[in-house]
Symmetry: C2
Subunit: 235 residues, 2 copies
Amino acid sequence: MPRNQPLMAPAPGSSAPAATTTATTLAEAIRIALAEDIIAGRLPPGSEIEEHQAAERFGASRTPVREALRELAAAGLVEIEPRRGVRVARLTLERLGEMFEVMAETEAMCARLATHRMSAPERFALQSVHERSAAAVADGDVPAYDALNREFHSALYRCTHNGFLAEHVQALRLRLAPFRRAQFHHADRLRDSFAEHAALLRAVLRGDGEAAAREMRAHMLAAGSSLASTLRPAG
Amino acid sequence: MPRNQPLMAPAPGSSAPAATTTATTLAEAIRIALAEDIIAGRLPPGSEIEEHQAAERFGASRTPVREALRELAAAGLVEIEPRRGVRVARLTLERLGEMFEVMAETEAMCARLATHRMSAPERFALQSVHERSAAAVADGDVPAYDALNREFHSALYRCTHNGFLAEHVQALRLRLAPFRRAQFHHADRLRDSFAEHAALLRAVLRGDGEAAAREMRAHMLAAGSSLASTLRPAG
DNA sequence: CACAGTATTTCTGTATGCACAATCCTCCGA
DNA sequence: TCGGAGGATTGTGCATACAGAAATACTGTG
């Protein structure tokens, strides 16, 4: 099935044999590398990307770099002004809020659908992820919790049994990633996030889709406002 | 504000001074032209697009054609298999169903948010669009109803007062467009669609967001299943 | 010293050329 | 007749070259 390739490598901290995981084409490799740079904050929002310089960095010509940049633009990670140049997407606070709302509503949708459709093994797996994240909270291990948080949400996406939806919301998440890096700076947020997951999980396990949606929406909005409070005016 | 350019020209049947509306760049013009061809069905799902031949058709070189194709791929209108070629996206029935579900849920989200946020003038405008579409139904004027249907939904998007959401759902709509061309073939579907809009509008006007969401979901699913019944196995 | 106008530089947009991968075709052998 | 090896062909991926727009530096004038 010649589906659309994902914008990034399978998982940012995956267990796969490091690099050369997927790179059928130079342009694709460059796209992945640039996306990682943007998401990791090495290319902060607003910074300019010059084609020639990027090409040099990757030991390639401008052609594949241009292709990579076009695709990143389509995904919303960079902005292209014709004949002016490319820069990493920089959002107004208003637009960031709008994106968070869409994210929250879409995740809520996932939670509701997943509640009604997930299988018993899936239920068990979700619970397991949540339990493992408890340890990370106890240790204050931010990177570990961050990874488990992603896994928790991804598991929920899969439980919708709607592959397109899963890809769709994952793309949204990717697009917001550059602005969520400070997500768990405060230990408070870590604990709150875990508690919200717990409430969500309870709703899911008792089969109350609407409640699950509400919990998820609240969870995402809490994350959003926590983020907003740590953000300087124009990220 | 250097936001992301839309994938297509403003409106397929707009009143703007025809061509040369927007075309800062050759690649962009080609992208728009190809998108229109795909959506209008002149390039049906599954058909191959050969770079050289497309370039010749537009009197350009392969370079801008390639860029256009990458962007179309990112939007999901075409599929690129590295070193194999490009073809207009062809969906399995399963995936089409998944996309319709996401579309339905997202439109429902829009309806709910719009209900709670729209202003009095917006309410009036939405009603006006609906009333105009009544005439199209009475005349059995399919193209007119099609246009008004789009306008009805677009108006609702705007009423969410969430610009990102509006763009987001519009992109979804665009992506499904190649598979919705047979939408109002049956006069029955025309009348049903109008009736569903009426029910939706009633819910919106009495401020019942949840009901509006339900009506919208039902409306979209009805459209989807009507479409499925007129579709050969692998569109 | 400020500023308008011009020259220069820089970088994007497009064209062209080359190399290699994928496919197709031919032809030979079982 | 069928299957497969090997070469020809087609078309993509990438590099390079060139033209023109935008940004910058420069110069002369008020």
